[in-house]
């Protein structure tokens, strides 16, 4: 065999091996292949008349519980697959909401962001059929703005509002220089209208505005396409617990991936992969820590804590990549308690969640 033939054989073997790996990964990720004609949750109907390749695709059925507290790994794995679908790594044809029985405010925002991005990636051509969704889920997602997002009319069979109300999610873009502050203000007004309580607006604004600033400075690479440099925020109000939940999410690189190991022991642990993502988020909360290395920077994450410091029993959760930091305001002492953990699957971005009861505000004087 000539050398040229040998190289060609080698290349063919390499190509076959690569194709087998791609196929294997696809099979692992796909819940099952689905004929387009049977899709019924959210379909890209634009492709209905297309050829064989577009007649088949990936069908993802969302689990009954979408909640980062109760069902973290399964929830983020499903959303990761939706993301892969919207990025065309999978031929995502359908996303089925029929089994969803419970969705937390944070999971609802994650889902909204993925559906929003998917819809944008196909020029707003997503369609939905909601007839088999659970009534309460339909109500919550309607309130959150899914129906507007998908350009479908208000359903006539909406369930009554129970304890929890979702507020309309808000999308922002990194390069929109005028809107961010106004959007944060509009979310605060929505929350006050839903809860009927005046909230500590300045502390909420400080947290949200710093979250937006962090996204602009750190989350995305500057060369990212416009549609990949977005952030989303939303709110919810539970009238039974009198609990306000505010969530902010970006699809960026995540705090653990942008925070440098600045101290000797951190560098050592980082090199031996024993500085986990939860510990990295905890380190980022320390004042003055910034990926820029500049002393005047790195104060922003402290702003996330202000609303927690000023409400008894409130909780801040930061999920970023595989890490999670939870800061609780102790009901009895008002002292802040820190917990961190690291998960198996990454959240692909950073999600910040504040939950507090407006009636448990601590007097600032």
């Amino acid at each position: 065999m000539k050398k040229q033939d040998f190289d060609h054989q080698k290349w063919l073997a390499h190509r076959d091996r690569k194709n087998r790996i791609i196929e294997c990964n696809r099979k692992r990720l796909v819940i099952h292949r689905h004929r387009f004609g049977k899709c019924h949750a959210i379909n890209n109907e634009h492709n209905t008349g297309a050829q064989e390749e577009s007649r088949s695709g990936v069908y993802i059925k969302l689990p009954p519980t979408l909640d980062l507290d109760e069902n973290y790994e399964k929830t983020v794995t499903h959303f990761r697959n939706v993301r892969r679908g919207s990025q065309r790594q999978l031929k995502l044809k359908s996303l089925n909401f029929d089994d969803i029985e419970h969705i937390s405010p944070s999971a609802a925002l994650l889902l909204a962001s993925e559906v929003d991005k998917w819809n944008q990636s196909i020029s707003w051509r997503l369609k939905a059929s909601h007839s088999s969704w659970k009534p309460q889920i339909k109500r919550l997602l309607y309130e959150m703005g899914y129906f507007e997002l998908l350009h479908i009319k208000k359903p006539t069979d909406l369930a009554e509002i129970k304890n929890t109300r979702f507020l309309k999610f808000i999308r922002g873009e990194v390069n929109n220089k005028r809107a961010a502050g106004e959007l944060a203000k509009s979310l605060r007004i929505q929350i006050e209208n839903a809860s009927g309580c005046e909230i500590k607006r300045h502390l909420l604004f400080d947290g949200l505005s710093e979250a937006i600033t962090n996204v602009t400075h750190h989350a995305y690479k500057s060369k990212s396409k416009r549609m990949f440099r977005m952030w989303w925020m939303a709110g919810a109000f539970d009238s039974e617990k009198n609990l306000v939940t505010i969530t902010f999410y970006d699809h960026g690189r995540g705090i653990p991936n942008t925070l440098p190991a600045s101290r000797f022991w951190e560098k050592l642990k980082h090199n031996f992969s024993s500085w986990n993502d939860g510990q990295k988020i905890m380190a980022a909360m320390q004042a003055g820590r910034s990926s820029t290395g500049r002393s005047e920077r790195g104060k922003g994450l402290q702003n996330f804590l202000e609303i927690i410091k000023s409400h008894t029993g409130s909780i801040l959760k930061i999920y970023s990549f595989r890490g999670c930091l939870i800061v609780k305001n102790n009901e009895n002492t008002n002292a802040l308690e820190y917990f961190q953990r690291t998960h198996t699957n990454p959240i692909q971005g950073t999600l910040i969640e504040w939950s507090f009861s407006p009636e448990k505000a601590i007097d600032e004087n």
Binding site: R178, R201, T213, T216, E296, E364
Partner: protein, 110 residues
């Protein structure tokens, strides 16, 4: 001389650099603070009213006020004598403390 941030600049000031937004700390410092500080004196200080804004993130405050020392090289002692921060809401007292804190921190890093 008086600057009412909410009325004269924005009721939703946020961010550090112009890349963040049009109502960021750097623009406020360059377009509002520096021109007015040129004419301010001990007898006629620059009054900065902070009430009315939605809030102030630390990036905005640090860049606007810490930047006066760090970047524009104004003596912090002089700033203390020619700037007066005005607020009616007790909840906004925290911002007054933060402004002076960022000025002091910028001075200590010089």
């Amino acid at each position: 001389m008086k600057i009412d941030i909410a009325k004269d600049f924005s009721d939703t000031p946020w961010g550090r650099y112009p890349d963040d937004g049009d109502f960021c700390g750097e623009i406020f410092r360059k377009k509002f603070l520096l021109p007015n500080l040129k004419n301010a004196s001990v007898s006629d200080p620059l009054i900065i009213k902070i009430d009315g804004a939605e809030g102030f993130g630390s990036s905005f405050l640090e860049e606007a006020f810490g930047g006066l020392v760090r970047l524009d090289k104004i003596d912090p002692a002089k700033l203390k004598s020619i700037i007066k921060i005005e607020n009616e809401k007790s909840s906004f007292q925290m911002y007054v403390k933060l402004i002076w804190k960022y000025i002091e921190e910028a001075a200590s890093q010089e």
